[in-house]
Symmetry: C2
Subunit: 175 residues, 2 copies
DNA sequence: CGCTTCTTTCAGAAATTTGTGAAGATACAG
DNA sequence: CTGTATCTTCACAAATTTCTGAAAGAAGCG
């Protein structure tokens, strides 16, 4: 019984059970917020890893999912810029990494979505008529989104500053 | 041919086709952002209505969906505070309304979600250890969310001010 | 150059989600 | 109190999504 003791640590100096508990719990929250299940689990696992980067097989093993599932999940995450892929030079292994800076941006970077909302609203204002009651409502909604878009950009700027001050520059975890 | 002419207006002074086009297009964007289909369509229809409020049967008719579907959709929307329900005093009809103020808040009011994320992260920091690399990453992530939570509140305050100035107070559409 | 190791793609099985019809509640009207 | 209009709930059918196993596709290494 070398590893199952209370709060025990695995071979790598971490308690795999505690890690798993956190991963599943946090992933569940992400799912509730709209992220597909597998991407959520993979992301949480990366977040909870020591180096902030894992290989495909490590992910599959830890989460008990097939290589195909890992592949699908990382493709999704990379597409929405929540992780980035790295190639290890001397190997065919690929490494998936969560990069502090990058994924904060991604979270707020519903920007593309915001844009499309704005486009749809502009079209609506035109086709319903800017002076109709509905048109006026759409105009105001549009103004809100434009406002938010600007504000979020400013907010992220402030965050970078804030973080710099509190945590020092760069990602807090490096290899 | 009283109503189908180009850009023509229906009996109610609006072009139903143009309205429908907007409704479906905007709803599609909302769906892409994660809203379930029916709620998205219902919401878009309300947004594009002249009074900003419709009854269940009006919604069902316009969107060609069953009363059950309307019921489910409005329940969802009310739950996330994107609309409110009103009782017409002299009738068993209920009216669903989009209230400018209210739904802007709702959109940014992922607050509940944010809170749960923060809770999960705090738990993770504790169980993985605040001084481990993973623990440090979680701490920073937590800080980010706390920062965002504060900032969003401030942003909404600024929005109210901004809107006041540009559109005058209150909802732009009243019965 | 072929072997080995890893990753991706593809088709299908399983589970989940979504919308409907029909029956059940609720509340006003006479 | 009975009748009627309106909304909600429930069980099921249909469509969509999700994950897996198996085979094909890259990329170093001998």
């Amino acid at each position: 019984m070398t590893q199952a003791a209370a709060g025990a640590t695995g071979a790598d100096g971490r308690d795999p059970e505690a890690v798993s508990r956190f991963v599943e719990h946090f992933a569940a929250q992400l799912v509730e917020a709209g992220l597909p299940r597998m991407p959520a689990r993979v992301f949480a696992a990366l977040l909870a890893s020591d180096t902030g980067a894992l290989t495909s097989s490590e992910l599959g093993e830890q989460l008990k999912i097939s290589p195909a599932a890992v592949s699908g999940a990382v493709r999704y995450l990379a597409q929405v810029h929540m992780i980035s892929r790295e190639r290890e030079p001397g190997s065919r292994r690929e490494r998936y990494r969560v990069h502090g800076d990058q994924w904060y941006e991604a979270l707020t970077n519903r920007e593309a979505i915001l844009r499309r909302w704005e486009d749809a609203l502009r079209e609506g204002v035109t086709s319903l008529g800017p002076t109709t009651p509905a048109g006026r409502r759409l105009t105001e909604t549009l103004a809100f989104f434009e406002f938010v878009e600007k504000e979020v950009a400013a907010m992220m700027e402030r965050w970078r500053e804030h973080r710099e001050q509190r945590f020092g520059s760069g990602t807090s975890t490096r290899d």
